[in-house]
């Protein structure tokens, strides 16, 4: 019985290219697959001059991934998941924004595409395991038998914030070979392996949103679907009800945002809340952003099966947030998969739609979505 291959998700970037090369060098049988998720030439008004060159899923990335696969001598295929990506990631992203929340498409993509649809494709090519270039670690707990998710060794690159939704079944079949390495080590390894992409820049932004400009993307996407926002204009008001001005739609604003409010006052103003129903954007001082509690729904537990009693944890409420100490409390029998987070110190910009991920040091207990 020949060894079953590992399906490597190859984006054309240095991380996943290194993963493929590393596994191949270890003598593993590897099949490289690039997921085509989004047509960067779609929505021409925002595509930019080169049709999205340099962003995820551009033809350049496929070119790079194919070149690496050729270099290391593995079978390589491009698989098209554009339809599933739009259905499970882009549409929910748009709907969340229009509902006044600030969604994280990367987590949806991990939950429904990269660790779901991709695993099915791995099955199809006869692979029992998948490997990706994510910075995270998976361990099997000898006592509980559960698969644990742990932060990457490189704290600056750690991506566990986006991976809290992984199920035990998914973790059981997933390899994160970069979790034990730092980014400089990965680059050095890529250079040692002579990979053509060793010096390629990191991708930063959300792959289908050019320049991180959500509002322009939303406008272009809705226009393409013939669902242009009607009567989007609304007012900007202070927390005590004073009207300060007008805005072009609540989807242009996110909680904690300071720039681009278009109103001039003496003290710095922040978005405290948005309400798509009344089309109001509520602004206030920095102190008014502070919250000491958050409700978190659709929680996925990783290190244990269910939360029965309050636990101490460090809670991360944004990717760049330094996890803050808190109690995690079960929300009660009527609210399964919901918890209340009670921070020791009030936190700025607890933003509906973002993820709250619960850590005990390196260990990811689980996470969910801020209500």
């Amino acid at each position: 019985m020949p060894e079953l291959p590992i399906a490597v998700a190859m984006s054309g970037g240095v991380d996943s290219s290194t993963v493929a090369a590393l596994l191949a060098r270890q003598g593993r049988s590897v099949v490289g697959l690039t997921m085509q998720l989004w047509n960067q030439r779609r929505l021409p008004e925002i595509a930019g001059e080169a049709g999205g060159t340099g962003r995820c899923c551009s033809l350049d990335d496929v070119y790079d991934a194919r070149r690496v696969a050729g270099q290391i001598g593995i079978p390589y295929y491009v698989v098209n998941f554009e339809e599933q990506f739009e259905e499970r990631v882009v549409k929910p992203f748009v709907e969340e924004y229009l509902a006044g929340r600030t969604p994280i498409p990367c987590t949806l993509c991990n939950n429904y595409i990269k660790f779901d649809r991709f695993l099915e494709m791995a099955d199809a090519v006869g692979a029992d395991q998948i490997a990706t270039g994510h910075y995270a670690r998976v361990r099997r707990c000898p006592e509980s038998g559960r698969y644990q998710l742990r932060r990457a060794v490189d704290a600056a690159k750690d991506q566990t914030y986006f991976l809290f939704g992984l199920t035990q079944e998914q973790l059981a079949r997933t390899l994160f070979p970069l979790g034990e390495m730092t980014k400089p080590e990965v680059r050095e390894l890529a250079r040692d392996l002579n990979l053509a992409v060793a010096a390629k820049g990191d991708s930063q932004e959300i792959c289908f949103v050019p320049n991180g400009d959500y509002a322009t993307f939303l406008d272009a996407y809705l226009k393409e679907r013939g669902e242009a926002l009607s009567a989007a204009r609304g007012s900007i008001v202070t927390t005590d009800g004073r009207a300060l001005g007008e805005h072009e739609g609540v989807h242009h604003f996110t909680v904690g945002q300071r720039r681009g409010l278009g109103v001039a006052t003496g003290e710095p103003l922040y978005v405290i809340a948005t309400d798509p129903r009344t089309r109001k954007v509520v602004v206030g001082s920095g102190n008014e952003l502070l919250r000491s509690r958050a409700f978190v729904k659709d929680v996925n537990w990783i290190s244990f099966a269910d939360l029965c009693q309050p636990v101490r944890a460090q809670v991360k409420i944004r990717n760049k947030h330094a996890a803050a100490p808190a109690w995690i409390l079960p929300a009660g029998a009527g609210n399964p998969n919901c918890v209340e987070v009670s921070f020791d110190e009030p936190q700025r910009a607890v933003t509906p739609g973002q993820a709250a991920v619960f850590y005990q040091d390196d260990l990811v207990l689980g996470g969910g979505w801020i209500e």
């Binding site: 191949a24 698989v79 098209n80 099915e120 199809a124």
Partner: protein
Amino acid sequence: MNTVRHIYFDHNATTPVSPEVLEVVVSALGQTYGNASSIHSFGQAAKQQMEAARRQVAALIHASPKEVVFTSGGTESDNMALLGVARATLEPRHIITTAIEHPAVLGASAQLEREGVKITRVPVGAAGVADPDKVRAALRPETVLVSVMHANNETGAIQPVGEIAHIAREAGIPFHVDGVQALGKIPVDVAALGVDFYSVSAHKLYAPKGVGALYIRKGARWNATTFGGHHERDRRPGTENVPGIVGFGAAAEMAGRGFAAGRDLTAIAALRDRLETAVLDRIPGTGVNGAVARRVPNTTNIYFDGIDGEALVIALDLMGFAVSTGSACSSGAVTPSHVLTAMGLPAERARASIRFSLGLSNTVEQVDALAGALEHAVARLRRISVYA
């Protein structure tokens, strides 16, 4: 790394260059390097070989050599035909084509549409065949061209181009046929068919890529679409690809001999039928798309219900069998095959369909091995597919 021996069942995408063709191409590349337009002996030698090849290609389609214009391939030939006819006529202009054409014709007609030409795309029935009466019904006073493919690349369905030629001729309208998938698979006689333009490509015929031809009937109204020197009687400028052209000629000669002997094609048809029978007998939930149509002998398009065609192509490749989900160009595209959906297949079934296109080198053993691999792969994919 990947040591699987690969067996090729994708001859509608392209064919291997046959040894005889390879020999003349290499010889021309090495020795006949003159520019066919040059006055000196080097140029004359190239010109002589090129004109011999033109006679060979003309003979295969029963044209006069003067009516054969060498091009870079099928796509250029199709573009030359559609754009060249449209530009030879004043507004208003209308072109009739079908819903199942190759992207070369679909793309050229879409461009003409942007330039103001009205396009009618005649639908096809469940067999994937255009109805000549629908073409007749689409005729308008301002119709300047009818363009219908001879054989479909995905299903192999042969279109009634003879009848349509008759309709077009009666109406006094030029008729273009994209014959890329017919040449070498069924006899082609442009004179008997009564067509005005006929596109062909060398690499579907065991000759190299990058060379093709457009038959332009003597006297047909047509304008050149690219401009430069006086090559190809002012119809297609640019120094000719002499090695490719002599390879095309040799391949045409061999195809003609094959038809005369009547051997190759019946053998391929028998292999194709053997594959269909094996699949339909041994794998439930399968069927041949467009089975009721008259088809070229080497092509079959089979659906495997509950299967993602893309996954099956990859799984088969890893098992050593090269097949395709449709035309090579549409791999990686989001939308299911426009040909299969035009035939009325639901998107699910269109996505679950695979094209097998056989060639001269395929054997009974290879077909049996493919059927076995299919049985295995489809069973596995159905077991794991949660959406099936």
